[in-house]
C-alpha cells in the first residue's frame, strides 16, 4: 500500500518570504505522479504543481517549485515570495502508478499561514 507523510502539521511565514513544505512517500511503482494540492477555506481543491516520477528535472510553476528526490522518496514544495492568498491547507499526494489514474493517496496536510 502507498503511504504519504507530511511531518509538519502547521507552518507560518511572513509575506514575501520563502517557505518549504516537506513530504515523503512510499511506493513500489517506478512510474507515478506526485502532486501538491492547495485547499483554501473555501474547500476547493486546487492543483499547485505536479511531478512525473520519470522526469529528473524538478517541476516549477511560477512561485512554486519542488525538490524531488526519487531515491529518498522525498517531494518538498517551495513557495517563494509568499502571498496572503497562499494561506491554505496543502496536501501532498501520489497516485498508484500504472493505470491507476485518479486513485490518489494523500498526506495529512500542512496548514500554511502567511502573515502580513
Amino acid at each position: 500500500a502507498q503511504t504519504v507523510t507530511q511531518s509538519q502539521p502547521e507552518m507560518s511565514v511572513q509575506e514575501a518570504e520563502t517557505v518549504t513544505l516537506s513530504c515523503t512517500y512510499d511506493t513500489s511503482e517506478n512510474n507515478y505522479y506526485l502532486f501538491w494540492y492547495k485547499q483554501p477555506p473555501s474547500r476547493q481543491m486546487i492543483l499547485v504543481i505536479r511531478q512525473e516520477a520519470y522526469k529528473q528535472q524538478n517541476a516549477t510553476e511560477n512561485r512554486f517549485s519542488v525538490n524531488f528526490q526519487k531515491a529518498a522518496k522525498s517531494f518538498s514544495l517551495k513557495i517563494s515570495d509568499s502571498q496572503l492568498g497562499d494561506t491554505a491547507m496543502y496536501f501532498c499526494a501520489s497516485d498508484a502508478g500504472g493505470t491507476s489514474y485518479g486513485k490518489l493517496t494523500f498526506g495529512q496536510g500542512t496548514i500554511l499561514t502567511v502573515h502580513p
Binding site: 505522479y33 502532486f35 473555501s42 474547500r43 476547493q44 481543491m45 492543483l47 505536479r50 512525473e52 496536501f91 499526494a93 489514474y101 485518479g102 486513485k103 490518489l104 493517496t105 494523500f106 498526506g107 495529512q108 496536510g109
Partner: protein, 113 residues
C-alpha cells in the same frame, strides 16, 4: 480542465437517514472518483465510478453504505446510507484530466446530528 458541479453544497441530516450527492461534469469522462474528507483530516478515496459497470470500492468502503450510480459519462451520484454522526464529512467528486491531474468539485459538506 474540467468544471465539476456538486449538489448539495452542504446539508444537515438526521441520524438514520440517507442522502444522495450529485456530481455533474462539463465534459465526458471515463472514470469519476468519490473522496471523503473527515473533519480536519486528509482525503480518502471511497470508490471509482465507472460508466456501464459497477463501481469499484476501496478497502473499508462497501456498496450497501455508499451506493454509487453512473448513468452516463458526465454524471454520477453517491448516496450515504443510514447515516450516523461518524459520516459527517466533506464528500468530493473528482475526475482525471487529460493533462494528468485530478480535478475536484467544491465538495458537499454533510453534518449528521
Amino acid at each position: 480542465s474540467a468544471v465539476i458541479s456538486q449538489k448539495p453544497s452542504r446539508d444537515i441530516c438526521q441520524r438514520g437517514t440517507s442522502l444522495t450527492i450529485q456530481c455533474q461534469v462539463d465534459s465526458q469522462v471515463t472514470m469519476m472518483f468519490w473522496y471523503r474528507q473527515q473533519p480536519g483530516q486528509s482525503l480518502t478515496l471511497i470508490a471509482t465510478a465507472n460508466q456501464g459497470s459497477e463501481a469499484t470500492y476501496e478497502s473499508g468502503f462497501v456498496i450497501d453504505k455508499f451506493p454509487i450510480s453512473r448513468p452516463n459519462l458526465t454524471f454520477s451520484t453517491l448516496t450515504v446510507s443510514n447515516m450516523s454522526p461518524e459520516d459527517s464529512s466533506i464528500y468530493l467528486c473528482s475526475v482525471w484530466g487529460s493533462t494528468g491531474e485530478l480535478f475536484f468539485g467544491e465538495g458537499s459538506r454533510l453534518t449528521v446530528l
